[in-house]
């Protein structure tokens, strides 16, 4: 009986720990595109949610500090292993997403847009 309880508590502990870095709680709708490819393993994930707020690895951030934070995360990783996932709500405007793209470029990240398969009309 005790073993089951311990396993249960451990599981809860790891779930909470994982969610601190996770961005699955953020609400955003991906834009559609006809051609998609599988994402590579990413060093960082940026979300611009439906309220146009920017998050880096699930933590709220501002445009001005984003490039610095990304540089720190990417470190000295070689080219090809500097993937940054960009999850932008499809209705977000250029005022919000262009500075983020610029910051990824400044930090030397490999930009990867997360999108959805375009449905046939």
């Amino acid at each position: 009986m005790a073993m089951g309880d311990i396993a249960f508590l451990l599981l809860i502990f790891f779930v909470i720990l994982a969610r601190a870095q996770d961005d699955s709680h953020l609400e955003w709708k991906p834009a559609e595109t006809p051609d998609l490819e599988q994402a590579r393993h990413a060093k960082a994930s940026i979300v611009i949610d439906k309220d146009n707020k920017t998050y880096l690895n699930g933590q709220a951030t501002g445009h001005s500090q984003l490039a610095g934070e990304l540089e720190e995360l990417l470190g000295n990783a070689p080219v090809g292993k500097r993937t940054v996932l960009l999850k932008v709500n499809k209705d977000a405007t250029a005022v919000f997403f262009e500075p983020v793209i610029e910051a990824v470029s400044e930090a030397g990240g490999d930009l990867y847009h997360i999108l959805e398969q375009k449905k046939d009309e």
Binding site: D35, L36, E37, T83, T93, V95, L111, H113, L115
Partner: protein, 140 residues
């Protein structure tokens, strides 16, 4: 007088409770973690070289507004955008000439931007963003 004996409730074994809870948690975790992980990579060169600014007039310039796209100042419909870009970039052999400068108005939605930049890349263009000066100040 005989009374009918009521059937006793059989309690499930307590040891199974934690197993049920464990399986339920795993089930909800799997349901919650279904997130999109497919998309498109994009190469955006660093925009630091000031010398290249002189040559920008030779590069194709795409302006984006909320619903429209302009190629070198000329409005182009979504259906005609890809053939237009292919025609413009097919003559350019040097990589530097294939740079396409993308300028977006502040109200350009992401779905429109991603569709247009996708077509530029499909036509063989290399995207460079040009941000408006005043926008860089107001981003935070």
């Amino acid at each position: 007088m005989k009374f009918k004996k009521a059937k006793l409730l059989i309690e499930p074994p307590h040891s199974a409770m934690s197993d049920i809870a464990f399986i339920l948690i795993v089930f909800f975790l799997v349901c919650a973690s279904v997130q999109p992980d497919r998309g498109r990579s994009q190469i955006i060169p660093k925009s630091e070289e000031k010398e290249e600014k002189k040559e920008q007039s030779e590069n194709v310039e795409v302006k984006l507004s909320r619903t429209a796209a302009f190629v070198n100042g000329e409005p182009v419909s979504s259906a005609m955008f890809l053939p237009k870009m292919q025609a413009l970039l097919s003559e350019k052999t040097k990589e530097a000439d294939r740079v396409v400068v993308v300028k977006s108005k502040g109200d350009t939605p992401y779905h429109h931007w991603i569709s247009i930049t996708g077509m530029i890349e499909k036509a063989g263009g290399i995207i460079t963003l040009q941000l408006e000066e005043e926008r860089e100040v107001m981003t935070d």
